[in-house]
Symmetry: D2
Subunit: 292 residues, 4 copies
């Protein structure tokens, strides 16, 4: 089988390799000529035999939207575009609509797995029509972990459902991480507990809280048993915010996600304006012990 | 009428003055001989004609408990002790039980009003039997604001209910302050809003959010329009913690109080261990944009 | 002075009356001919002498946007439109831009005060240029409470700042209400506290938590001392969601608002899917008491 | 080696079996004569050769405290008691102090693993002196999963540290479960997502959120793809409350745990008093759209 792959960074490059290992032909395009198989998008499209499948693996937002627009001018009826990047799900329907004008199909696919994906396979969450998803199944099968298809792949729903599912996956991740983090802080704060690293390690087998994130936490504590020298400053890459925004839209209470997200916001403030206000209010009491 | 008053600090001293202004006799005792009317607790008790009423206005915790223990050895059947300090409500029943062994009554009374209480009257919340509360009503009437009794006084329930009601009052206060504080931070963060102080001031009349705390916020912003130089560092005096502990005990969800209390905890941390843990976890991903 | 006023519902009708009482001429237009002074928007504009001021007081969203579009076709250079409705602030700049194409000015104005505004005046929060706000100051002075201008009026910033400030006002209101509500629930849950209504009433004078909302709470408890028969079901009108969305956008932690908003979401669920999931997870343990 | 084991319920019975399989002698005592090896605690103690080790595996609280008191009267210098139940950590030091009066040692041990522990081994978290923990290491080695000792066992610190670590483990579990639950609710609420069960299943391999709890969630959704018929009603067994109480005591912000715990409280309310209060307040506005 044959496909095109746009974007050959860490993710895209490894994915090309994994699909090739599965015995398929992948023609890759990247702005960086050193890794690109072709000189231009146009050349990529010309080299693919119709009906073509082109996988887009470029940064989310305008770069992805621009690539889709360009593809809309190059591809022809019966072709298929897959956006495998971290796009916000609200980009998907407009992309699909644009491509549909010339009879080109569209599937959005959230991809999880990172640097270990090359060897272990990638977790895949797709959105689109049955027909379009089916057409690309040989690619999904090449990319996902070996074993039962449904343990590493889902056709979650309509266009957008793939990126949406990946977004929620990341929103859950915020809460999981903060749950472990709170437990870490409490154990550290307790005088009678002297081996916090050991406690986390002892949880890795047989307990209810065992997980891949716990394994990572143990690794982090192996390197720095008290996380010494690590700053609290933590960025957020957007999926947590998007998830919470959609929760608000759909009237779904997500207090755990909100708490985890707000804690990241707070970690980046040197002097919380909210707490300045509280401090100022208490000052106005004239000393609250006097005042009330 | 005649009463004894133990503890003549800022609160106790002003209360003695206000009760005297109402035409009653107050014999005050304080460890500081410069403000005390008598030399010892024993002398205080001797000078009071039975049945005696003794108001305790000393620091909460062991000082109050010790005073009650001492009074239990001095007072006699038919006397009455009122604890007007900031005691935790769990101290009240033991105090009442101890005094009841010799037939001495007990009322707990949460007092609000601070430095303005002398002129404006104190908000009073009492717990105890009808008989005991009734016996001291002339004191409550002298202390509370003028006007209808029920706008500044409540007999909230059994022994402990007075301090409990005052504790919840303070718990609510945490939430109110933080609600204003969050609004302040958001207005400050918004580029199109240029007069945050003016916005708060414009709310002081006619709006839904007007309150005494809002007035204090306006005053604070008058002094420092951007709260410049004010540290986020904010202590807590215990009532917020007690309130949340009891909410846990009674299975009452109090997310607003919890958020306000946790924000205070956070304001005192230079480097949040929780967020260090989150940052460390993200580091283990090998750069999360790579990893997932 | 003379002005036009579009929308003569409860709010608009009362505002027309209050401005007239201040000695000004108000020509009102409403789709309901029984309250309208003119038959059409066009007639309204024709009756006003340039430079005209037209105040829009119609439902937020498409009705307001449509009215502004229509006005853009009728008004001429030097005229001024004021949107006094509950529009989302993101509508303001597009409205202003549209009107600016023909030299018409724009001011957004959040209005607080409701049914009591007619007698007591309205709290006003404006956004726009100094020139435009100044031009309409005689209207603001007629509408706001008597007394110092800055206690009921603010020119908060650029176009949009008026509605933004009103939005934050409402966001704060969510938190304030929930803080009192939590205190109410805890007092109700505590066996030793028997007079919850009395406790709230006793707080109305002299205490730190006194406010207009507290007065309303006392009134509600006077009618139903245990809120008997009142459903927990609570809607939300949008401003709380908008406020939280902007907090996410600006990375401002607002845990109190989030808690209050999520509690409203939850109040409308008969069976929380989240808690179904937790219950199901616990069931999978095989009975958690067995499992861990 | 030889030991006594008190309490032969599901946990205790399986533990006896696992230790015996490791080649040791276990004399078990239970009030139920059908499972007990001896007729009384006294007979148990008599049959053990000094220095004795007695493992207590009875319900937490008074049953455990009573058993320890009885053992204090039966055991002699050099013996050792291990409390492997779900005791609150605050029980441990008093237990240790009592036993120390007659020279008997004490170790507290949190045990995780439930019904699968017999085959897979139990996760163990211990508190006590090095000497006492060392003395019982052969039992811990028999009970814990095979493999490296530190992946299923920790000597976490002083007396109480074992139960404390287990308590925090359970507190973390609350947050983890609620994070998944929120994600489930959001996916269910989103119209474009049609295969929520499939999404969770696809996460089980290769993703960041994979865990044992996720596996359980997939199992629950396999049985009931929309959790149909499952009530939101969820109890809590105490460890979550204890964890939050200690967080308050130590000024550790734990918003995720608090959110998860409050959601359980809320799941058991038919009509939230807090939300009744909010609804009543809004009613007092006279219809909030009118009022503000």
């Amino acid at each position: 089988m044959q496909m095109g792959l746009i974007g050959l960074g860490k993710m895209g490059g490894n994915m090309r390799e994994r699909i090739r290992r599965a015995g398929h032909e992948v023609i890759g395009y990247d702005r960086n000529p050193q890794v690109s198989d072709v000189a231009s998008l146009q050349e990529l499209v010309e080299k693919l035999e119709p009906p073509r499948i082109v996988w887009v693996m470029v940064p989310a937002g305008e770069p992805t939207r621009a690539t889709v627009r360009e593809l809309a001018g190059l591809l022809t009826e019966g072709d298929l575009v897959i956006d495998g990047g971290n796009s916000k799900y609200t980009d998907d329907q407009p992309n699909a609509d644009l491509l549909a004008q010339t009879g080109v199909g569209y599937v959005d696919c959230g991809v999880s797995g990172g640097i270990w994906g090359l060897e272990n396979g990638y977790g895949l969450m797709c959105g689109g029509s049955d027909e379009h998803v089916e057409k690309a199944m040989w690619i999904f099968d090449a990319l996902r972990p070996e074993g039962p298809r449904d343990e590493g792949f889902v056709h979650a729903g309509k266009v957008g459902a793939g990126h949406y599912t990946k977004m929620v996956h990341n929103g859950i991740e915020y809460g999981l991480m903060h749950a472990y983090a709170e437990g870490y802080e409490l154990l550290e704060a307790k005088d009678i507990v002297t081996d916090v690293h050991g406690a986390f390690k002892a949880w890795t087998r047989g307990t209810v809280v065992r997980s891949w994130l716990l394994d990572l936490m143990v690794k982090a504590l192996e390197e720095k048993p008290n996380l010494e020298g690590i700053s609290e400053y933590t960025t957020d890459s957007g999926e947590g915010r998007w998830t919470l925004e959609d929760a608000i839209e759909l009237a779904v209470p997500m207090p755990v996600l909100a708490a985890a997200l707000f804690a990241r916001f707070g970690s980046r403030q040197e002097n919380s304006p909210s707490m300045q206000a509280v401090a100022a209010l208490r000052g106005q009491f004239g000393g609250h012990e006097v005042m009330q």
